[in-house]
């Protein structure tokens, strides 16, 4: 009896608590698989670190990884399944905005919570989503300014034909208007297309010194391959990170730029440790890019929020999201209460011969997220977005 009191009073719980189930929803097959499977790896590494420390709220985390198969309808079904059948407490998932928009209604329907790790075009702030990737003002906008100052003012816009590139370019054009600069050209390639002949001809014709590139996927290979070297054009890309550099090849990309919050080459002790742990777990040949770091950070932020909330239930976790801060590998992040985006540091990197990025500019401290740039009101933005999505 004495011992029973002892145990009770000292708070020891000798019953084994059941694990907390968390959902990881990415494309394990299909065109997005190459990019998304790396996110699964980063998320699982974060979960393993948490479990080693004793889990969350004294319970181990049990990851349930499901395949969206690069199909947005499939993603929506799997999301629903995760919530209703598996009863996960949180979903970490998606890459493309189309994917996110497909599962957003499901997440909101069940009042659940999704951590979305990709930089995106903004113009969204769901109370059920935590956006751990960059908002336009944390990637696109600063980099355009820097490019205008440091590369040139003859700009050509090129991108894949879907919502993100179109919205991004819309925002960019707003910026340029303020500088009294007009774009020399704006071309969109169908997703997955390798037919760049027309585009290259147009580039030759317009002769820009700066190309803002929002092409996604392997169209980038064709684009960079056929890009005329003699024209001395520098490209600022928003969808090329360490992973894409590996597959496209440094010989095509060297000397060009990308804007992210995270680069594997960031020289802080936190990042060095993070990179080493990842390589030990997954192999020395692997690289880490911004979405992976954002996915990893998202898992840790969720765990920390659950501990603060004292519960793993989505509604209670969401209530405790505000001002959750941590030292992510790329720097200090903090969840902005209103928008549920992160304060993130902005960086611009130049692609080096070894496939890594050299940081040429950093915002120094973290930048407040503004998913709706204040150039227009929220309503105006949504109207403009609508115009893009359904022309």
């Amino acid at each position: 009896m004495l011992l029973a009191c002892l145990f009770n009073l000292s708070g020891c719980d000798y019953q084994k608590k059941p694990p907390i189930k968390v959902g990881i929803l990415h494309s394990l097959t299909g065109t997005m698989a190459i990019s998304e499977t790396a996110l699964v790896d980063a998320s699982l590494m974060a979960i393993e670190e948490l479990n080693k420390r004793g889990g969350v709220l004294g319970r181990k985390l049990h990851p349930i990884v499901v395949d969206g198969a690069s199909n947005w309808d499939q993603f929506a079904l799997e999301a629903e399944d995760l919530i209703t059948q598996h009863q996960v407490s949180v979903i970490f998932g998606c890459w493309t905005s189309a994917c996110r928009k497909a599962i957003k209604p499901v997440i909101e329907k069940y009042n659940h919570i999704l951590f979305y790790p990709l930089q995106y075009e903004g113009l969204e702030a769901s109370p059920n989503i935590v956006y751990t990737g960059a908002a336009p003002n944390q990637q696109i906008i600063p980099s355009v300014h820097w490019a205008l100052e440091n590369i040139g003012k003859n700009i050509y816009l090129v991108g894949s034909d879907y919502v993100f590139p179109r919205t991004a370019n819309m925002i960019i054009k707003d910026l340029l208007k303020n500088r009294n600069i007009s774009v020399l050209g704006e071309t969109y390639l169908p997703l997955g297309s390798h037919d760049v002949a027309e585009l290259i001809d147009d580039i030759r014709l317009k002769n820009p010194n700066l190309i803002i590139n929002t092409i996604n996927g392997d169209s980038n290979v064709a684009f960079f391959k056929h890009l005329p070297k003699d024209l001395k054009i520098k490209v600022m890309s928003y969808s090329i990170a360490e992973t894409e550099v590996l597959s496209i090849g440094t010989d095509l990309l060297q000397g060009h730029y990308a804007a992210w919050n995270y680069f594997q080459s960031i020289n802080t002790s936190e990042n060095l440790e993070f990179v080493e742990n990842f390589k030990i777990k997954f192999g020395q040949h692997r690289v880490i890019d911004d979405p992976m770091e954002a996915a990893y950070t998202g898992v840790h932020l969720w765990a920390q929020t659950a501990e603060t909330a004292g519960s793993h239930l989505p509604t209670l976790v969401r209530a405790a999201l505000g001002y959750q801060s941590m030292k992510a590998p790329h720097g200090v992040v903090s969840i902005d209460k209103k928008s549920q985006h992160l304060w993130k540091t902005v960086r611009i990197g130049e692609i080096m011969a070894d496939g890594q990025f050299e940081v040429v500019w950093s915002s120094g401290t973290s930048v407040r997220p503004a998913p709706f740039p204040s150039t227009y009101s929220r309503q105006e933005w949504l109207k403009r977005l609508e115009a893009i999505e359904s022309p």
Binding site: L2, C5, H145, T308, Y323, Q324, S325, A328, K337
Partner: protein, 681 residues
């Protein structure tokens, strides 16, 4: 434990059974209470910290909203439109300027009351074209001028770069000569930047926000700091060190750990050391809009005050309880022990001989009853003792009498014993004598037998000698008469051969008889141990006994196995077998026309089984048990001494160390079975 008094024992028992468990339980409760108190305080502090973070962020947010509001206001737009053309860079402004400025001033002056030190309006090129307080920053260019690296410069740059409102933390701002923080917002019209509005936040106002703690804990404090490169600066006044200036750059090495964690974005609530090196419960938080690290802390000792008080009280209570237990044990012990002590004294006195002593009846019921019983017992003891004394005297007298009687009996017994011993000796002597005489007698009869036997062949020999003599006379006569023809000579020769043959036989017989007798006689008195074949011994004995045995119509068969060797006194065997055989002759075959006597022997291992059996009259059952008794005979009148079988029995038992049995059936026969070791050690 027997050396300890009752008081001590009681104290130990009370201590062990009551106080020790209480101490243990109390410790357990205290420990867990402390743990839960600490966790409760931490939780409380954590919640307060979160609230404070919210409060500050909301405050900053409001400042930013103010900036945004201003950026959207018509007044800002108009002011810029009016003043930018009139603005003179780094010079005293013109009259026209001031006239225009005056129109707009009041609006911004009112706005200042919201808690701003100064409000700036800046052209897209970076010129500070308007300021409420014309400090040295007025009319400079914020991108290129001397204040471009100030807080104002950074927020304006950000606002124009990112087209978003931006805030800075408190830094020393030289135009104002004190710490200042700034909020700026881009002024956009139709997506185009027409200027920037900046607010200089009143340091004191924010101080009130951060320092507003509420609550009862005196030691509570909010410390806020921000980092710049290798330095950090406190953003609020520090409670316990008023010498620290807000915004003054201090080396990173001096950064207290909780603040370090907070600025690094780490969210924690833990027990740590603050900037005074005092143990505190510190909740570390990060404030993104100012890039501040905030520590909401209270002194650990204050937090645990309740516990400390409880602990001291518990210790005091336990000590006094222990003391009380000591006193109680002492009192109880003495109360219980007193009657016992008295009783002990009384017992000692009684033991010394004071039989009339009684114990006082006192104390609690049990001791009262004990004293009563004790007294009763003591009285009985006294009586019993008296009784005992009388009894002892009586008994001693009785015992003395008995002793005398016993002694007499003993003497008699001793005499009888001596008598018996003497008789035994006489008897033994008589027995030995009898055996000797029997031996002599048998030897005598043996000699008589032999003599008788020898007479016969000797007689024949003598007769034959006589015939020879007469034949020789006849021959001589014939020779003299010249009538000795060949035929007559042949007749004489034949006769003489016949005589010779007779002589030969009978003399031979005589020799054999003498030899046999010698053998038996020697053997009978032979006292040397030797190895001999039993068969041969029996053979020679039978031969020597022939004079006697041939008188009876009995066939004697020597069925002894001829490989049996015995290492013993052959004389004993002669005697033994002689007696058995002669006995059988006399008793078994009396009145019988014919009979058989078989002497057989077998050897098994070391044991010889010798059997002398006859098919004679048998021995009646009533006599069987007595036949080995000395002097037992059924032929006393006819010359039997009754010693034969007893001698046999003695020889078997004492000389051969063996056993003898007799089996008999009337008119069927008798068997004597002797078992003995084939070699005597």
């Amino acid at each position: 434990m027997n050396q300890y008094t009752l008081s001590k024992k009681l104290f130990i028992w009370i201590f062990l059974s009551a106080i020790v468990p209480v101490v243990v339980l109390t410790t357990i409760y205290l420990v867990s209470f402390r743990a839960s108190l600490l966790s409760q305080e931490k939780e409380h502090l954590s919640q307060l910290a979160d609230k404070k973070v919210e409060q500050v962020e909301v405050y900053i947010s409001q400042r930013i909203d103010d900036a945004r509001l201003l950026s959207k206001s018509v007044q800002s737009e108009q002011l810029l439109a009016d003043l930018i053309p009139l603005y003179k860079h780094k010079q005293k402004q013109t009259q026209a300027y001031y006239l225009k400025e005056k129109i707009h001033r009041s609006f911004f002056q009112d706005f200042k009351e919201r808690g701003y030190f100064d409000i700036f309006l800046i052209s897209p090129e970076g010129d500070i074209v308007f300021s409420l307080i014309h400090e040295s920053d007025f009319a400079t260019n914020i991108y290129r001028g001397e204040y471009r690296n100030s807080g104002l410069g950074s927020v304006v740059k950000r606002a124009s770069y990112f087209l978003e409102a931006s805030s800075s933390s408190f830094e020393y701002y030289s135009p104002s000569g004190e710490a200042a923080a700034f909020v700026a917002a881009p002024i956009l019209r139709a997506g185009k930047l027409i200027g920037i509005v900046a607010l200089q936040v009143d340091y004191n106002i924010i101080q009130d926000v951060t320092l507003d703690l509420g609550g009862s804990k005196e030691s509570r404090e909010v410390v806020v700091a921000s980092k710049h490169g290798n330095y950090f600066s406190y953003q609020t006044r520090v409670k316990y060190d008023p010498s620290i200036e807000v915004g003054r750059e201090l080396p990173i090495a001096e950064l207290p750990y909780p603040l370090y964690k907070a600025m690094g974005g780490e969210r924690s609530t833990a027990v740590e050391l603050d900037y005074r090196n005092v143990k505190v419960i510190a909740a570390s938080r990060y404030l993104p809009s100012m890039h501040w690290g905030m520590v909401f802390k209270e002194d650990y000792s204050e937090a645990m005050q309740v516990f400390d008080r409880l602990m001291y009280f518990s210790i005091a209570a336990l000590v006094s309880i222990s003391f009380g237990a000591l006193i109680l044990a002492r009192y109880l012990g003495q109360a219980v022990a007193k009657p016992l002590v008295n009783m002990t004294k009384a017992t000692r006195a009684i033991a010394q001989g004071d039989m009339d002593l009684t114990v006082e009846l006192e104390g609690f019921k049990e001791s009262f009853e004990l004293a009563e019983s004790f007294n009763k017992m003591s009285g009985r003891l006294k009586d019993a003792r008296n009784n005992l004394e009388h009894k002892v005297i009586e008994r001693t007298f009785e015992l003395e009498q008995e002793m005398k009687l016993r002694k007499k009996n003993e003497m008699d017994l001793e005499n009888s014993y001596l008598e018996i011993n003497r008789s035994m000796l006489h008897l033994k002597t008589a027995q030995d004598q009898l055996i000797e005489s029997e031996k002599m007698a048998s030897l005598g009869s043996l000699v008589a037998g032999i003599a008788h036997e020898i007479n016969t062949p000797l007689g024949i020999a003598i007769t034959s000698n006589g015939v020879l003599k007469s034949t020789l006379n006849e021959m001589e006569k014939d020779l003299n008469n010249k009538t000795l023809t060949q035929g007559v000579f042949k007749e004489h020769l034949i006769k003489m051969n016949e005589i010779e043959s007779l002589l030969d036989n009978n003399l031979g017989r005589t020799v054999t008889l003498v030899k046999n007798f010698k053998q038996v006689a020697v053997d009978q008195t032979n006292l040397h141990k030797a190895k001999f074949y039993l068969f041969e011994l029996v053979e020679s004995l039978l031969a020597s006994l022939l004079p006697e045995t041939k008188r009876h119509p009995v066939e004697i068969i020597n069925d002894v196995r001829d490989d049996i060797v015995i290492d013993s006194y052959s004389g004993d065997f002669y005697q033994l077998l002689t007696n058995l055989i002669l006995n059988a002759m006399v008793h078994a075959f009396e009145g019988k026309e014919k009979g058989k006597l078989i002497i057989s022997a077998r050897l098994k291992g070391d044991i010889v089984t010798l059997s002398v059996s006859d098919d004679g009259n048998g021995i009646p059952e009533e006599s069987l048990s007595s036949i080995f008794e000395p002097f037992f005979t059924t032929r006393r009148g006819a010359g039997g001494s009754g010693l034969g079988l007893s001698i046999v029995h003695n020889i078997v038992k004492q000389k051969l160390k063996g056993d003898i049995e007799v089996h008999s059936t009337i008119n069927k026969g008798t068997e004597f079975v002797v078992r003995f070791a084939n070699s005597l050690p």
